[in-house]
Symmetry: C2
Subunit: 199 residues, 2 copies
Protein backbone atom coordinates (compact mmCIF):
# COMPACT_ATOMS: atom_id res chain seq x y z
CA UNK A 1 0.00 0.00 0.00
CA UNK A 2 1.32 3.42 -0.95
CA UNK A 3 1.30 5.87 1.94
CA UNK A 4 -0.60 9.03 1.02
CA UNK A 5 1.43 12.22 0.67
CA UNK A 6 1.06 15.29 2.86
CA UNK A 7 -0.99 18.23 1.59
CA UNK A 8 0.76 21.38 2.79
CA UNK A 9 -0.76 24.81 2.29
CA UNK A 10 1.66 27.72 2.38
CA UNK A 11 0.48 31.30 2.86
CA UNK A 12 2.05 34.54 3.92
CA UNK A 13 1.95 38.20 3.02
CA UNK A 14 3.57 39.55 -0.10
CA UNK A 15 7.23 40.00 0.90
CA UNK A 16 7.30 37.02 3.28
CA UNK A 17 9.38 35.12 0.74
CA UNK A 18 7.06 32.15 0.34
CA UNK A 19 7.84 31.83 -3.38
CA UNK A 20 11.58 31.73 -2.68
CA UNK A 21 10.96 29.22 0.10
CA UNK A 22 9.09 26.87 -2.25
CA UNK A 23 11.89 27.19 -4.84
CA UNK A 24 14.58 26.48 -2.23
CA UNK A 25 12.68 23.45 -0.91
CA UNK A 26 11.90 21.93 -4.31
CA UNK A 27 15.52 22.39 -5.40
CA UNK A 28 16.47 19.76 -2.81
CA UNK A 29 13.37 17.56 -2.88
CA UNK A 30 11.96 15.93 -5.99
CA UNK A 31 9.23 14.05 -4.11
CA UNK A 32 7.03 17.12 -3.92
CA UNK A 33 4.46 18.49 -6.34
CA UNK A 34 3.77 22.22 -6.44
CA UNK A 35 0.21 22.75 -7.57
CA UNK A 36 -0.45 25.23 -10.38
CA UNK A 37 -3.53 27.39 -9.89
CA UNK A 38 -6.18 28.05 -12.51
CA UNK A 39 -7.34 31.56 -13.37
CA UNK A 40 -9.57 33.40 -15.80
CA UNK A 41 -7.33 36.46 -15.95
CA UNK A 42 -5.25 37.03 -19.08
CA UNK A 43 -1.65 35.81 -19.12
CA UNK A 44 0.93 38.53 -18.50
CA UNK A 45 4.06 38.93 -20.59
CA UNK A 46 6.11 35.74 -20.28
CA UNK A 47 3.55 33.69 -18.32
CA UNK A 48 3.14 30.14 -19.59
CA UNK A 49 -0.06 28.06 -19.46
CA UNK A 50 0.48 25.12 -17.10
CA UNK A 51 3.57 26.68 -15.53
CA UNK A 52 2.48 29.97 -13.96
CA UNK A 53 -1.24 29.28 -14.20
CA UNK A 54 -3.76 27.26 -16.11
CA UNK A 55 -5.47 30.02 -18.07
CA UNK A 56 -9.15 29.17 -18.46
CA UNK A 57 -12.12 30.97 -19.95
CA UNK A 58 -14.88 32.00 -17.56
CA UNK A 59 -17.06 29.24 -19.04
CA UNK A 60 -14.39 26.60 -18.50
CA UNK A 61 -13.82 27.81 -14.93
CA UNK A 62 -17.55 27.80 -14.10
CA UNK A 63 -17.87 24.34 -15.63
CA UNK A 64 -15.12 23.08 -13.32
CA UNK A 65 -16.85 24.69 -10.31
CA UNK A 66 -20.04 22.82 -11.25
CA UNK A 67 -18.27 19.46 -11.32
CA UNK A 68 -16.54 20.13 -7.95
CA UNK A 69 -13.23 20.45 -9.73
CA UNK A 70 -11.59 22.88 -7.28
CA UNK A 71 -10.21 22.34 -3.77
CA UNK A 72 -10.82 26.08 -3.29
CA UNK A 73 -11.63 29.00 -5.52
CA UNK A 74 -12.39 32.69 -5.24
CA UNK A 75 -13.15 35.71 -7.33
CA UNK A 76 -10.96 38.85 -7.16
CA UNK A 77 -11.66 41.92 -9.32
CA UNK A 78 -13.77 40.03 -11.88
CA UNK A 79 -11.25 37.21 -12.20
CA UNK A 80 -11.56 33.69 -10.85
CA UNK A 81 -8.67 31.85 -9.20
CA UNK A 82 -8.73 28.25 -8.01
CA UNK A 83 -6.78 25.11 -7.10
CA UNK A 84 -7.57 22.20 -9.42
CA UNK A 85 -8.62 19.22 -7.33
CA UNK A 86 -7.78 16.28 -9.59
CA UNK A 87 -4.03 16.72 -10.02
CA UNK A 88 -3.55 17.35 -6.30
CA UNK A 89 -5.50 14.25 -5.25
CA UNK A 90 -3.74 12.10 -7.84
CA UNK A 91 -0.30 13.10 -6.56
CA UNK A 92 -1.29 12.61 -2.92
CA UNK A 93 -2.61 9.13 -3.70
CA UNK A 94 0.64 8.30 -5.46
CA UNK A 95 2.40 9.15 -2.18
CA UNK A 96 3.81 12.49 -3.25
CA UNK A 97 3.73 15.53 -0.99
CA UNK A 98 1.91 18.53 -2.39
CA UNK A 99 2.43 22.26 -1.78
CA UNK A 100 -0.32 24.77 -2.43
CA UNK A 101 0.94 28.34 -2.36
CA UNK A 102 -2.35 30.17 -1.89
CA UNK A 103 -3.89 33.04 0.04
CA UNK A 104 -5.41 32.94 3.48
CA UNK A 105 -9.05 32.60 2.39
CA UNK A 106 -8.17 29.76 0.04
CA UNK A 107 -6.14 28.02 2.73
CA UNK A 108 -9.07 28.01 5.14
CA UNK A 109 -11.36 26.62 2.40
CA UNK A 110 -8.86 23.81 1.77
CA UNK A 111 -8.69 23.00 5.50
CA UNK A 112 -12.49 22.71 5.51
CA UNK A 113 -12.49 20.38 2.50
CA UNK A 114 -9.37 18.43 3.55
CA UNK A 115 -9.03 18.39 7.35
CA UNK A 116 -5.70 16.54 7.01
CA UNK A 117 -4.14 19.51 5.22
CA UNK A 118 -1.26 21.13 7.10
CA UNK A 119 -1.43 24.93 7.13
CA UNK A 120 1.86 26.82 7.25
CA UNK A 121 2.15 30.60 7.52
CA UNK A 122 5.40 32.34 6.55
CA UNK A 123 6.49 35.62 8.05
CA UNK A 124 9.60 37.75 7.69
CA UNK A 125 11.57 38.20 10.93
CA UNK A 126 9.95 41.59 11.63
CA UNK A 127 7.55 44.20 10.30
CA UNK A 128 10.52 46.41 9.43
CA UNK A 129 12.07 43.68 7.30
CA UNK A 130 8.75 43.17 5.51
CA UNK A 131 8.58 46.88 4.76
CA UNK A 132 12.18 46.96 3.55
CA UNK A 133 11.64 43.92 1.33
CA UNK A 134 8.61 45.50 -0.30
CA UNK A 135 10.32 48.85 -0.81
CA UNK A 136 13.55 47.13 -1.88
CA UNK A 137 11.87 45.45 -4.81
CA UNK A 138 11.78 48.92 -6.30
CA UNK A 139 9.09 47.85 -8.73
CA UNK A 140 6.21 49.41 -6.85
CA UNK A 141 5.20 52.93 -5.86
CA UNK A 142 5.07 53.80 -2.15
CA UNK A 143 1.29 53.78 -2.47
CA UNK A 144 1.35 50.13 -3.56
CA UNK A 145 3.85 49.29 -0.79
CA UNK A 146 1.57 50.83 1.85
CA UNK A 147 -1.40 48.93 0.38
CA UNK A 148 0.54 45.65 0.57
CA UNK A 149 1.57 46.35 4.18
CA UNK A 150 -2.03 46.99 5.11
CA UNK A 151 -3.09 43.77 3.34
CA UNK A 152 -0.30 41.95 5.19
CA UNK A 153 -1.69 43.13 8.53
CA UNK A 154 -5.09 41.69 7.61
CA UNK A 155 -3.60 38.39 6.47
CA UNK A 156 -1.46 38.02 9.58
CA UNK A 157 -4.63 38.16 11.69
CA UNK A 158 -5.60 34.85 10.03
CA UNK A 159 -2.26 33.26 10.94
CA UNK A 160 -3.80 32.16 14.22
CA UNK A 161 -5.90 29.64 12.29
CA UNK A 162 -2.77 27.98 10.89
CA UNK A 163 -0.94 24.94 12.25
CA UNK A 164 2.63 26.20 11.86
CA UNK A 165 4.57 29.43 11.49
CA UNK A 166 7.89 29.66 9.65
CA UNK A 167 9.88 32.80 10.31
CA UNK A 168 11.64 33.29 7.00
CA UNK A 169 14.97 34.85 7.97
CA UNK A 170 17.64 32.60 6.49
CA UNK A 171 16.17 30.75 3.53
CA UNK A 172 18.09 27.50 4.21
CA UNK A 173 16.73 27.39 7.77
CA UNK A 174 13.21 28.09 6.55
CA UNK A 175 13.48 25.30 3.95
CA UNK A 176 14.77 22.91 6.62
CA UNK A 177 11.81 23.79 8.83
CA UNK A 178 9.42 23.15 5.94
CA UNK A 179 11.03 19.74 5.51
CA UNK A 180 10.68 19.05 9.24
CA UNK A 181 6.98 19.91 9.07
CA UNK A 182 6.53 17.45 6.17
CA UNK A 183 8.41 14.69 8.04
CA UNK A 184 6.68 15.29 11.36
CA UNK A 185 3.28 15.33 9.63
CA UNK A 186 3.91 11.81 8.34
CA UNK A 187 4.60 10.74 11.96
CA UNK A 188 1.39 12.30 13.27
CA UNK A 189 -0.86 9.86 15.07
CA UNK A 190 -3.70 10.37 12.57
CA UNK A 191 -1.46 9.14 9.77
CA UNK A 192 -0.41 6.01 11.67
CA UNK A 193 -3.63 4.94 13.27
CA UNK A 194 -4.14 2.04 10.82
CA UNK A 195 -0.61 0.83 11.51
CA UNK A 196 -1.23 0.85 15.26
CA UNK A 197 -4.53 -1.00 14.90
CA UNK A 198 -2.94 -3.62 12.67
CA UNK A 199 -0.10 -4.00 15.12
CA UNK B 1 14.46 36.48 25.27
CA UNK B 2 15.47 32.82 25.22
CA UNK B 3 12.98 30.64 23.42
CA UNK B 4 11.81 27.77 25.63
CA UNK B 5 12.91 24.29 24.64
CA UNK B 6 10.57 21.49 23.61
CA UNK B 7 9.60 18.85 26.17
CA UNK B 8 9.40 15.55 24.30
CA UNK B 9 8.13 12.39 25.97
CA UNK B 10 9.20 9.13 24.36
CA UNK B 11 7.47 5.86 25.13
CA UNK B 12 7.18 2.49 23.50
CA UNK B 13 7.13 -1.16 24.44
CA UNK B 14 10.26 -3.00 25.52
CA UNK B 15 11.92 -3.96 22.22
CA UNK B 16 10.77 -0.88 20.34
CA UNK B 17 14.32 0.44 20.47
CA UNK B 18 13.55 3.72 22.22
CA UNK B 19 16.79 3.63 24.21
CA UNK B 20 18.84 3.15 21.03
CA UNK B 21 16.85 5.94 19.38
CA UNK B 22 17.68 8.38 22.18
CA UNK B 23 21.37 7.40 21.99
CA UNK B 24 21.45 7.85 18.21
CA UNK B 25 19.73 11.23 18.45
CA UNK B 26 21.89 12.62 21.27
CA UNK B 27 25.04 11.47 19.43
CA UNK B 28 24.28 14.10 16.77
CA UNK B 29 22.61 16.77 18.91
CA UNK B 30 24.16 18.37 21.95
CA UNK B 31 21.29 20.82 22.48
CA UNK B 32 19.16 18.18 24.15
CA UNK B 33 18.92 17.07 27.76
CA UNK B 34 17.89 13.52 28.58
CA UNK B 35 16.20 13.49 31.96
CA UNK B 36 17.36 10.96 34.55
CA UNK B 37 14.56 9.38 36.58
CA UNK B 38 14.54 8.97 40.34
CA UNK B 39 13.79 5.66 41.99
CA UNK B 40 13.71 4.03 45.39
CA UNK B 41 14.80 0.63 44.10
CA UNK B 42 18.35 -0.51 44.79
CA UNK B 43 21.05 0.09 42.19
CA UNK B 44 21.86 -2.97 40.07
CA UNK B 45 25.41 -4.02 39.29
CA UNK B 46 27.11 -1.22 37.39
CA UNK B 47 24.34 1.36 37.74
CA UNK B 48 25.55 4.81 38.67
CA UNK B 49 23.68 7.40 40.74
CA UNK B 50 22.83 10.38 38.54
CA UNK B 51 23.52 8.48 35.33
CA UNK B 52 21.10 5.55 35.24
CA UNK B 53 18.89 6.81 38.05
CA UNK B 54 18.89 9.08 41.04
CA UNK B 55 18.69 6.50 43.81
CA UNK B 56 16.63 7.91 46.66
CA UNK B 57 15.37 6.50 49.93
CA UNK B 58 11.63 6.13 50.33
CA UNK B 59 11.69 9.08 52.75
CA UNK B 60 13.55 11.29 50.28
CA UNK B 61 11.17 10.28 47.47
CA UNK B 62 8.07 10.97 49.57
CA UNK B 63 9.52 14.31 50.62
CA UNK B 64 9.95 15.27 46.98
CA UNK B 65 6.36 14.22 46.24
CA UNK B 66 5.19 16.50 49.05
CA UNK B 67 7.00 19.50 47.60
CA UNK B 68 5.62 18.84 44.08
CA UNK B 69 9.08 17.83 42.96
CA UNK B 70 8.02 15.37 40.25
CA UNK B 71 6.54 15.92 36.80
CA UNK B 72 5.15 12.40 37.15
CA UNK B 73 5.70 9.48 39.46
CA UNK B 74 4.34 6.00 40.07
CA UNK B 75 4.81 2.99 42.26
CA UNK B 76 5.63 -0.44 40.80
CA UNK B 77 6.19 -3.50 43.01
CA UNK B 78 6.94 -1.48 46.17
CA UNK B 79 9.36 0.83 44.37
CA UNK B 80 8.77 4.45 43.42
CA UNK B 81 9.85 5.90 40.08
CA UNK B 82 9.57 9.54 39.05
CA UNK B 83 10.74 12.37 36.80
CA UNK B 84 12.37 15.21 38.80
CA UNK B 85 10.68 18.48 37.88
CA UNK B 86 13.37 21.05 38.65
CA UNK B 87 16.16 19.96 36.28
CA UNK B 88 13.69 19.55 33.41
CA UNK B 89 12.13 22.99 33.87
CA UNK B 90 15.54 24.61 34.25
CA UNK B 91 16.79 23.16 30.96
CA UNK B 92 13.58 24.08 29.11
CA UNK B 93 13.83 27.66 30.37
CA UNK B 94 17.43 27.80 29.19
CA UNK B 95 16.13 26.94 25.71
CA UNK B 96 17.28 23.32 25.67
CA UNK B 97 15.10 20.52 24.37
CA UNK B 98 14.36 17.77 26.86
CA UNK B 99 13.64 14.06 26.32
CA UNK B 100 11.83 12.00 28.92
CA UNK B 101 12.00 8.28 28.22
CA UNK B 102 9.14 7.06 30.37
CA UNK B 103 6.23 4.66 30.33
CA UNK B 104 2.74 5.27 29.05
CA UNK B 105 1.14 6.13 32.40
CA UNK B 106 3.90 8.61 33.21
CA UNK B 107 3.62 10.18 29.76
CA UNK B 108 -0.08 10.85 30.19
CA UNK B 109 0.59 12.39 33.63
CA UNK B 110 3.21 14.69 32.07
CA UNK B 111 0.79 15.73 29.32
CA UNK B 112 -1.72 16.65 32.01
CA UNK B 113 0.83 18.73 33.94
CA UNK B 114 2.52 20.20 30.85
CA UNK B 115 0.02 20.47 27.98
CA UNK B 116 2.81 21.71 25.66
CA UNK B 117 4.65 18.39 26.00
CA UNK B 118 4.97 16.46 22.74
CA UNK B 119 4.19 12.75 23.11
CA UNK B 120 6.00 10.35 20.79
CA UNK B 121 5.36 6.62 20.67
CA UNK B 122 7.94 4.29 19.11
CA UNK B 123 7.04 0.98 17.53
CA UNK B 124 9.03 -1.66 15.71
CA UNK B 125 7.97 -2.19 12.06
CA UNK B 126 5.79 -5.19 12.98
CA UNK B 127 4.67 -7.46 15.80
CA UNK B 128 6.92 -10.20 14.40
CA UNK B 129 9.96 -7.93 14.59
CA UNK B 130 9.10 -7.00 18.18
CA UNK B 131 8.89 -10.69 19.06
CA UNK B 132 12.18 -11.47 17.32
CA UNK B 133 13.92 -8.56 19.04
CA UNK B 134 12.77 -9.71 22.46
CA UNK B 135 13.74 -13.33 21.81
CA UNK B 136 16.98 -12.24 20.11
CA UNK B 137 18.22 -10.54 23.23
CA UNK B 138 18.68 -14.02 24.58
CA UNK B 139 18.76 -12.71 28.11
CA UNK B 140 15.19 -13.61 28.97
CA UNK B 141 13.20 -16.82 29.26
CA UNK B 142 10.29 -17.39 26.85
CA UNK B 143 7.97 -16.77 29.78
CA UNK B 144 9.42 -13.27 30.23
CA UNK B 145 9.25 -12.67 26.48
CA UNK B 146 5.58 -13.61 26.40
CA UNK B 147 4.93 -11.36 29.41
CA UNK B 148 6.65 -8.44 27.67
CA UNK B 149 4.66 -9.03 24.47
CA UNK B 150 1.45 -8.98 26.45
CA UNK B 151 2.54 -5.78 28.23
CA UNK B 152 3.41 -4.31 24.81
CA UNK B 153 -0.12 -4.97 23.58
CA UNK B 154 -1.51 -3.06 26.56
CA UNK B 155 0.88 -0.16 26.05
CA UNK B 156 0.15 0.08 22.33
CA UNK B 157 -3.51 0.65 23.17
CA UNK B 158 -2.42 3.92 24.78
CA UNK B 159 -0.53 4.98 21.65
CA UNK B 160 -3.74 6.57 20.41
CA UNK B 161 -3.35 9.25 23.07
CA UNK B 162 0.05 10.25 21.68
CA UNK B 163 0.84 13.03 19.21
CA UNK B 164 3.31 11.18 17.01
CA UNK B 165 4.34 7.65 16.10
CA UNK B 166 7.85 6.72 15.00
CA UNK B 167 8.20 3.36 13.34
CA UNK B 168 11.67 2.33 14.39
CA UNK B 169 12.94 0.30 11.46
CA UNK B 170 16.22 1.96 10.42
CA UNK B 171 17.66 3.81 13.39
CA UNK B 172 19.02 6.73 11.30
CA UNK B 173 15.56 7.33 9.80
CA UNK B 174 13.94 7.14 13.23
CA UNK B 175 16.46 9.65 14.65
CA UNK B 176 15.83 11.96 11.69
CA UNK B 177 12.10 11.76 12.35
CA UNK B 178 12.67 12.58 16.01
CA UNK B 179 14.63 15.65 14.92
CA UNK B 180 11.85 16.65 12.54
CA UNK B 181 9.32 16.42 15.38
CA UNK B 182 11.51 18.70 17.53
CA UNK B 183 11.92 21.23 14.69
CA UNK B 184 8.27 21.17 13.68
CA UNK B 185 7.20 21.58 17.32
CA UNK B 186 9.14 24.83 17.48
CA UNK B 187 7.22 26.04 14.41
CA UNK B 188 3.83 25.16 15.92
CA UNK B 189 1.42 28.06 16.10
CA UNK B 190 1.22 27.88 19.91
CA UNK B 191 4.95 28.49 20.14
CA UNK B 192 4.82 31.52 17.84
CA UNK B 193 1.67 33.26 18.98
CA UNK B 194 3.59 36.00 20.81
CA UNK B 195 5.68 36.64 17.71
CA UNK B 196 2.57 37.00 15.55
CA UNK B 197 0.92 39.36 18.02
CA UNK B 198 4.04 41.49 18.24
CA UNK B 199 4.26 41.57 14.47
Amino acid sequence: MVRKGVLLVLSGPSGSGKGTLVKEYTKKHDDVFVSVSATTRSPREGEVHGVNYFFLTVEEFKGKIEENGFLEYAQFCDNFYGTPRESVEKKLNEGMDVILEIDVQGALQVKKNCPDAVLVFTLPPSYEVLRERLIGRGTESMEVVEKRLSAATDEIKCAEKYDYVIVNDKIEDAARELGAIFSASKCKLENNIDFIKEF
